[in-house]
Subunit: 321 residues, 2 copies
């Protein structure tokens, strides 16, 4: 699906995938990302909103202790604990809290006996990323059709949908979304961690509902036609300028702040310092920065994530009976 050429022959013949029976909607993977925390808590009290004709999605509050303390995590980032290596490692009392938690969650929702068909993971970002739909690859037709369905059927120009592909070929990825056969992570921002913005909360809620509608139509046998779509794919991470002691020597330039998904040309400023210096992007190709000035990524040495644009043609899709 990565280029038009490789797929044009079969575009009108649908790809058949299995039905989606077990659906999980996870909030609170990070305890201070409040849209997902609020929605998961609400649905745990009354999940009727998650019922569809062909399934009922299960709400999950992933990290209750981090939620209680309103912090991202207790010992380590839960959303970096779902690699095969960590999940299959030997249990030890000394394991960080979130490693133990990841194994419990995987046991319940991701292991062979219980594997869920679709997992939603709900996040917020301090970056101006609108409604970002994060997919692990462009190779899963069900996920790609869902993203396309949301872009067409869940329109809000003030919080627009972007498709963010975090493809790490051959890598043992550490994300919670690994617990499902298919997945979509929602990343809504800008919202400061620890606060609830009504507009962001409403948008996340309608995106989840619209996604569930899509899965229900899919299960019921609706055929979704072939389409073309532009997505952004991760190219590389860019760290802040730092001194030898790791201290920040600069910060995001005003011209880059809030410009997630805007093209950044070579030579344009990306950082500035209190001494009045500007640091410019010295790459050779135009990139599309995302997660610009995400608060939780300072400690991960990520000032922004550089993306490339990719045009995909996705074949028609129908459920396998």
């Amino acid at each position: 699906m990565k280029s038009i050429e490789s797929r044009t022959a079969n575009m009108s013949t649908p790809i058949f995938c299995g039905p989606v029976n077990r659906v999980v909607v996870v909030g609170g993977t990070h305890g201070n990302e409040m849209s997902g925390v609020c929605l998961a808590k609400y649905w745990l009290q009354d999940s009727s909103e998650l019922c569809r004709e062909t399934f009922t999605a299960e709400p999950v509050l992933a990290n209750p202790l981090a939620v209680e303390r309103c912090v991202r995590y207790i010992d380590t980032d839960l959303n970096r604990c779902f690699s095969s290596e960590l999940l299959s490692g030997p249990d030890s009392e000394k394991d960080p809290y979130e490693v133990k938690l990841a194994r419990e969650i995987f046991q319940k929702y991701g292991s062979k006996q219980s594997s869920c068909d679709f997992v939603f993971d709900l996040h917020n970002t301090t970056s101006n990323m609108g409604a970002t739909l994060i997919l692990p690859t462009v190779d899963d037709p069900l996920e790609m059709h869902m993203a396309n369905y949301l872009q067409s059927n869940c329109v809000d120009d003030s919080i627009p949908c972007h498709v963010f592909v975090c493809e790490l070929p051959g890598k043992d990825t550490p994300y919670l979304q690994n617990i499902g056969k298919h997945c979509l992570s929602l990343e809504l921002g800008p919202q400061a961690h620890g606060i609830i913005r009504a507009d962001t909360l409403r948008r996340m809620r309608e995106l989840v509902n619209c996604s569930l509608n899509f899965l229900d139509l899919y299960n019921q046998g609706k055929e979704f036609p072939s389409f073309e779509i532009d997505v952004c794919r991760v190219k590389f991470h860019v760290d802040y300028p730092r001194g030898s002691d790791g201290e920040l020597q600069g910060f995001i330039h005003t011209q880059l702040q809030d410009k997630d998904y805007h093209p950044l040309q070579p030579g344009r400023p990306i950082f500035q310092t209190l001494h009045g210096e500007e640091l410019c992007y010295d790459g050779e190709k135009t990139i599309y920065p995302t997660f610009v000035n995400e608060g939780a990524y300072y400690e991960k040495n990520v000032a922004f994530i550089a993306m490339e644009k990719l045009h995909c043609t996705v074949p028609a899709l129908k459920v396998q009976r």
Copy 2:
């Protein structure tokens, strides 16, 4: 100074105050409010920017441990530890980290032997409060003249200055600004805690510099003429709707979000819930909400602070030789 009537007789005769010799600029009172943290760290390496003809301001990083961990505080809010009661309490090993810290800071900058003449305390807020100049009262002519000077000489329409008076008559206030004879707290937002926005940082820096220019002119004998000014004064705090277990039952209404300093009429919506309900302001007078949806105030049971408008006439000011 609280009403035009009470002061009109003497408006043109200047009030004489003492010179300002020792000036302290404090960042990192809250370890994740990054504008002040960045500036204090920068000035601790090179304080030449804080030199004026008549004084040199001292930079202070108030809570280095909280800064290192990028959290608001370690045990308790440092900016609630400067009440006379806490400062004069008997030392105990069991005291919270910040109580010990407050006593150290007070010893160094606020006690009789070392008392500083002017203290700046640099803060950020997740609320849309622009450049808020916080004064303890309207009764200090030096502070009022500084606020007026900033409003006239440090104009930036994208981050406008507001004067916020937190007058708590007869109360033993717990704020760090108590260490100075005179004080100004700067509260700039919106900025998520833990992140550095270049625009906010630049604005805070220019406000501090402009304030130091004012103090220098004042020390040099410039007479500042009488003026009139509108300020906002704290009326009451409003908490979120909560269940009997303390859990939030609602959040700031979209119509109130980002509307700090806008008039809020009786009957207008202030909260909404996931059930679709709206809760309205049931007071009788128009108020001016501030700190709307401040992240650090969820735990303080403050959804916003209701202010009233106050028109003040301030007499001329000159240094006492």
